[in-house]
């Protein structure tokens, strides 16, 4: 199904492993975890054992040594079982790379093998109550204290915030220096005095994905907690990673469009109204055609973009374009497909209702789509 010169039979073998994992470890518990609002730590250990974590991290650090198609496979397979909340991608493909790319040798050796094994679960804390997409406005500070730092401030909307025990925190080391005053810190939460997790935030969708407020009250950080060992690099580090992070969001958007279309095509073929299957109504066929077309365009665009990324030719504008386009289309497709399900589409037992609720997030997360358009608009 994937068309790319970088996609090999080894990827397809990996897909079988992932599919088995999803069927065995996730499908039976999905509903229970959605009620609990989080996934258990146990799941992360099992994922680590099965080789599903840090697939792209170098094998000398215990990672899989793979590429972005491994990330795509995991996202496609979790989408197939309608489990968008699984945040392996956040842990493996968004946070671990900060340590692999920017970390000191000690940081790499200390954290990457544990992240790959699932012994540690990672989160990244950027957004604050007063600063979302406008990252330069963050107010959390890391003040010098002896040879280390003292971290004070508040974060919000932090995915994995409840389960994580390693949190990458963005804070100002020089509050007067704007973007250049931002640094990233690796906070081990176990035994960290002054660190408090707020309540698990209740969201529109993505119910089994925990999202938290986090509070830091004079939390002591040793000097080796500073990512990369040099202050003031945080903003540049974050910016450099954004195109790939947005490409990963597009993976989920495209996979969800495809699944929604397939589920809905089956539904309208089986369900009858006024004496005929819904698929015999012209409107059903036209709406399906529109949704399918969006999914197909998204698929071609995604594979082209992943290939460009692997070839080293993927920039901030491309990241912004694919992120807003695919998440916007995902939302439209989910809405149309829900409509074709009628009343059942509004019932949570139907996957389409979850896909719809989940899809509202993509247009906001990872930099709102308005920010994406601003980035693109500036290049014209």
């Amino acid at each position: 199904m994937i068309r790319s010169r970088h996609y090999t039979p080894a990827h397809e073998d990996f897909r079988q492993t992932v599919r088995r994992f999803m069927e065995r470890e996730c499908v039976p518990h999905r509903d229970e975890w959605q009620k609990a609002g989080r996934t258990p730590r146990e799941l992360w250990l099992r994922a680590g054992k099965a080789g599903l974590l840090c697939t792209k991290v170098d094998s000398r650090f215990g990672g899989g040594g793979g590429d972005l198609y491994h990330a795509l496979i995991i996202i496609e397979e979790q989408t197939r079982i309608c489990f968008n909340e699984l945040t392996f991608y956040l842990h493996s493909d968004i946070i671990a790379p900060y340590i692999e790319l920017y970390g000191t040798e000690e940081q790499q050796a200390r954290y990457l093998p544990r992240l790959a094994a699932g012994e540690m679960v990672a989160a990244i804390a950027m957004t604050e109550p007063g600063a979302g997409s406008d990252l330069q406005a963050i107010r959390t500070t890391a003040r010098p204290d002896g040879n280390g730092y003292r971290l004070s401030g508040q974060k919000v909307f932090i995915s994995n915030g409840q389960v994580a025990n390693l949190i990458c925190v963005a804070a100002k080391t020089d509050p007067d220096a704007g973007a250049r005053g931002i640094s990233l810190f690796l906070l081990e939460t176990d035994g960290a005095d002054g660190f408090v997790r707020g309540k698990n935030l209740n969201k529109i969708g993505c119910k089994a994905q925990d999202s938290s407020e986090l509070f830091f009250d004079d939390v002591r950080l040793p000097p080796e907690a500073l990512l990369g060992g040099a202050e003031g690099q945080g903003f540049a580090q974050l910016m450099l990673r954004l195109p790939e992070e947005r490409l990963i969001m597009a993976m989920s958007a495209v996979a969800n469009m495809e699944e929604a279309v397939e589920e809905t095509a089956r539904y309208v073929g089986e369900r009858e109204a006024f004496g005929q299957p819904l698929s015999d109504f012209q409107n059903s066929r036209f709406k399906l055609a529109e949704c399918k077309t969006k999914a197909r365009l998204g698929r071609a665009y995604l594979e082209h973009s992943i290939d460009s990324f692997i070839d080293g030719d993927f920039d901030a504008t491309q990241g912004a374009m694919i992120k807003w386009w695919t998440t916007q289309r995902q939302y439209e497709v989910a809405d149309e497909c829900l409509q074709l399900h009628g009343g059942y589409g509004y019932m949570s037992e139907y996957d389409i209702s979850r896909r719809f609720a989940d899809s509202r997030l993509g247009r906001i997360a990872g930099g709102t789509n308005e920010i994406m358009k601003d980035i693109i608009g500036r290049t014209l």
Partner: protein, 387 residues
């Protein structure tokens, strides 16, 4: 232009000369040709002389034997120059391929070299007053009479219908048989009795391209005019060609989007309102960002479809998706571009206004977009049944 398609130096040289031809010999003449309602025969001969007609026809019949990319280049450059007429692609990429693909050896010899040179101008007559996209319902008949056929019926919306000397006419040789009763005839209109052209149809846009009604009253043609020499092949012949025709429609829409965006970006940078450039308003940047993204997404899908077509694996539903999506995007983007031009966008001296009018037809022709959605929708529903 960066592309994954197999463009060679030869293609690039061809593009440069096509650009010059359309910019210098066609674009400046558009107002005059609009006035006349059609392009003169001399420009067809000139295009033939330059090698811009039927570039894919084999050298055995006087052509250059090029690949699809030559046709794509010509279409892109014609759109880029803003030259609606002459409608070369219909002649070269719609009509000539019927002869090349289905014609008998004698038919190819008789017509292809003259189409390559521009001595003969081609058109194709499918649509009737009573039925557009529903081809099987056509009413024009061709009755066998000795060594001849006698055609009766009417056609409408025939592009190049006034310029053409050779018209491929679809008619029922078996009126009871729906699709299987349709045959195609090569009609040299100056050599037959009972053929007449109606008035020049007035259109919303595309004023420099001629569009005709045609009438056949006991029009007698020799049996040798039957394309391929076998009755009842017309419907599959038409169907097989549609994938390519829809692909080429999307190529033109893509080129229109590129042109509209380029001229609009220029405009918003030059024009001021409320003390700042139009380009500096957030709405302008967002609209253009959306259009630029849509263009990028479409470009990637289009190139994938072109590549697949050249490898013989572009299927009908995918070409229908492409045609529908490309033409809808073209329409929506050009409309946004008109809006960003403000009042000037409504003035026909500005090319964007003309593009808006000229472009409206692409959502209708080549199979209306509703037909495209039906094709795609049926394939999605049927795939789900066979899961």
């Amino acid at each position: 232009m960066i592309s994954d398609l197999p463009y060679t130096d030869e293609h690039n040289i061809f593009r440069a000369s096509a650009r010059k031809f359309f910019e210098t010999e066609c674009a400046p003449q558009q107002p005059a040709w609009e006035e006349a309602g059609m392009a003169p025969r001399t420009i067809w001969a000139r295009a033939g002389e330059m090698g811009f007609l039927c570039s894919r026809v084999s050298p055995d019949h006087g052509g250059a034997g090029g690949d699809l990319l030559f046709s794509i280049i010509l279409l892109e450059e014609q759109v880029r120059a803003g030259a609606i007429a002459p409608v070369l692609s219909l002649h070269s990429d719609v009509v000539a391929p019927y002869l090349a693909a289905y014609g008998t050896a004698a038919q190819k010899r008789a017509f292809l070299p003259r189409m390559v040179s521009g001595e003969t101008i081609g058109a194709i007559a499918m649509t009737e007053p009573s039925g557009g996209s529903d081809l099987q319902a056509m009413l024009t008949t061709a009755r066998r009479d000795g060594d001849d056929y006698i055609l009766n019926g009417r056609k409408t919306f025939i592009t190049n219908g006034h310029s053409a000397d050779l018209i491929i006419v679809a008619a029922k040789t078996d009126p009871e048989a729906r699709g299987k009763g349709i045959s195609l005839f090569l009609v040299e209109v100056d050599k037959v009795q009972g053929f007449s052209r109606g008035r020049m149809l007035k259109k919303l846009g595309q004023h420099a391209s001629d569009t005709a009604e045609l009438a056949f009253e006991d029009m007698r043609v020799p049996a040798s005019c039957l394309l391929g020499g076998e009755e009842g092949r017309g419907f599959p012949q038409l169907m097989q060609r549609l994938v390519e025709e829809r692909l080429m429609t999307a190529v033109a829409s893509m080129a229109m989007i590129d042109r509209a965006l380029a001229m609009t970006i220029d405009y918003v940078k030059g024009r001021k309102a409320f003390g700042q450039r139009i380009a500096d308003f957030q709405n302008t940047r967002f609209k253009l960002a959306e259009a630029k993204t849509e263009a990028a997404v479409l470009r990637i899908f289009l190139e994938r479809c072109i590549g697949d077509f050249m490898e013989g694996r572009l299927d009908a539903p995918t070409s229908a998706m492409l045609k529908y999506w490309a033409t809808e995007q073209q329409w929506a983007i050009i409309d946004d571009c008109v809006q960003l031009h403000g009042g000037y966008g409504y003035i026909l001296d500005y090319p964007i206004a003309r593009m808006w009018l000229d472009g409206r037809v692409t959502r209708i022709y080549g199979g209306a977009n509703e037909i495209m959605k039906d094709i795609v929708g049926r394939s999605v529903a049927s795939a789900a049944r066979h899961d």
